[in-house]
Assembly symmetry: C2
Homo-oligomer: 373 residues x 2
Amino acid sequence: MFPKDSVGIVRTQIAKLPDLTLENGAVISPLEIAYETYGILNPSRTNAILVCHALSGNAHAAGYHEGSDKAGWWDGYIGPGKAFDTNKYYIISTNVIGGCNGSSGPTTINPKTNKPFGSSFPFVSIQDMVNAQKLLLDSLGINELFCVAGGSMGGMQALQWSVSYPDIVKNCIILASASEHSAQQIAFNEVGRQAILSDPNWNDGEYGDNPPKKGLALARMVGHVTYLSDELMREKFGRKPPRGNIKNTDFAVGSYLIYQGETFVDRFDANSYIYVTKALDHFSLGRGEELTLNLSRVKANFLIIAFSSDWLYPPYQSREIVKSLEVNAIPVTYCEVNFSKGHDSFLVPNPEQHHLIHHFLEFAQNFSIFYEI
Amino acid sequence: MFPKDSVGIVRTQIAKLPDLTLENGAVISPLEIAYETYGILNPSRTNAILVCHALSGNAHAAGYHEGSDKAGWWDGYIGPGKAFDTNKYYIISTNVIGGCNGSSGPTTINPKTNKPFGSSFPFVSIQDMVNAQKLLLDSLGINELFCVAGGSMGGMQALQWSVSYPDIVKNCIILASASEHSAQQIAFNEVGRQAILSDPNWNDGEYGDNPPKKGLALARMVGHVTYLSDELMREKFGRKPPRGNIKNTDFAVGSYLIYQGETFVDRFDANSYIYVTKALDHFSLGRGEELTLNLSRVKANFLIIAFSSDWLYPPYQSREIVKSLEVNAIPVTYCEVNFSKGHDSFLVPNPEQHHLIHHFLEFAQNFSIFYEI
């Protein structure tokens, strides 16, 4: 049985949606979006919260799939009485386009060839991901988002939502994110992409049933190092010898990374890895005055959280967003949480983040009721 | 012509030395050490300074090789009137064993097979590298080191020298280094090694004339990201488009990394990369009480420098060495230099580091003269 505060058994649904014209002019037709929902949409359709996943996430944010004991990626935060309280809110989680977990992307079968699109799938941007989510909400009859929330790439989607659809988004939660990638963030993604491109199975993305597993595993290994903090790795692995049956390494941290790489390739597609990291790297609402200008149309209230040990998305990047919001006199609560889990902090059960999200939403709800009176 | 403060034309020499028995019991026979010297050994043979290189360095630390306009890797610090003043000191620079630039290592021809040793070359440690350097000094008739100095892996060698040969080392300069690698430092090296091992040309290290270039290039790319600071990369590349003829990337930082990887494979050997990074990762004089105990026999005076922007070898690792030296009442000068070049700071011309080294040596020289009186 599941814990009492779990949303229980859920399933991923696929919505068939109208064509989506991308920023670059290409058209995704038909557009398919994989999504899950938790909680109940209220009659006035004003209690919807969209949660957006990070690089390797999917639509399965909470609860359990039939026959599996693996909870969704944000199960600690979504459920009855949890930060995103399913007794109050209707939570929607989608898989991004360009991904490989049900939404349109390189693994989608091209009806013209009966083979996956592969690298012939058009490039997608964070803006495109958001526009695709908008089409899903339209199809669900939701014209208002009480909140849009996400960490890392999910935070970028949330921020883009607030810019692209200022009249729809009432509140916005951005965790461990940035208004654009720095050269260092691009660099780590670039190493991952080059690892995939260096794999002899890459074949310009037309690898069919023979994917570039080694390259993708290496990309995941690089990524994984950047998601953890120095301190966490020290506690977790230190200088200990390798664990399990993993060969070719002398250290526990090596066997961990190799394992992470090897298991990742079974659940992620190499083309999608390239598409999604490129969407991340090309996302730019700017910094300083440019960011301030881009955020001038925004109407949402913001909660922004950064983590002290997150060196991949350092707190200064969150503060840049906060500053530009403040210049625009947009209400924003900012907190730098002292938590040792590195960039992954926003995914990990963390009482402080839980508390901050819970009270931000609580306050926002009271505030909106106040205004309705 | 060369600048006036250059040591001018130099050449790398190869010393044939007595057999070296390694820590693991294996024997390197014959032992060959590639080295260069700058300045003049004084009649009392007391003015020798050994400089130790980092991961991808070599014996060519200063001046120019005949027909080349590329200066040695520490040319900014070694020369007449420079920090390591060749008017006063006799500077010796060696290539580490296990490397691939003239000293015994995997690229050395095995006389029994007439082929490179490859992965049949025995594992070497930082201690072994130091013991090999000791044999070279013996052959040069040098029984006292006025100073041993190095950054990163060079700093580890310098520290190990002070522990292994306390009566020989008078002064010790350790830059951007650590008493042992953290899990994070091991992790980045591990990704590099796995990239090499994943290359189809790897062939268990017996790759002959068909080396795993793509894997080695990837390893170098990962490494390179860790050598630079967030700030430096931002200034140097930002989010600019790719430069030159480099394809398969959308960003300047990508074209830079690809170029660094591609050129590295022409000057470095994949087996050596694995040997040297393993030596780095296995090096451990401990931390805290263990380190204090290991440093209790040390007799040198120390200058230790860390760099504010060096996130690969963060200043706290230098402070750990400082603390253990202080507990042992060993004279140590510590400085955390505010410099934006990341881990590479110690290699880059940097007035503050120049000043600190110059005056540390100056003071040490006056101090030793004082004692001789």
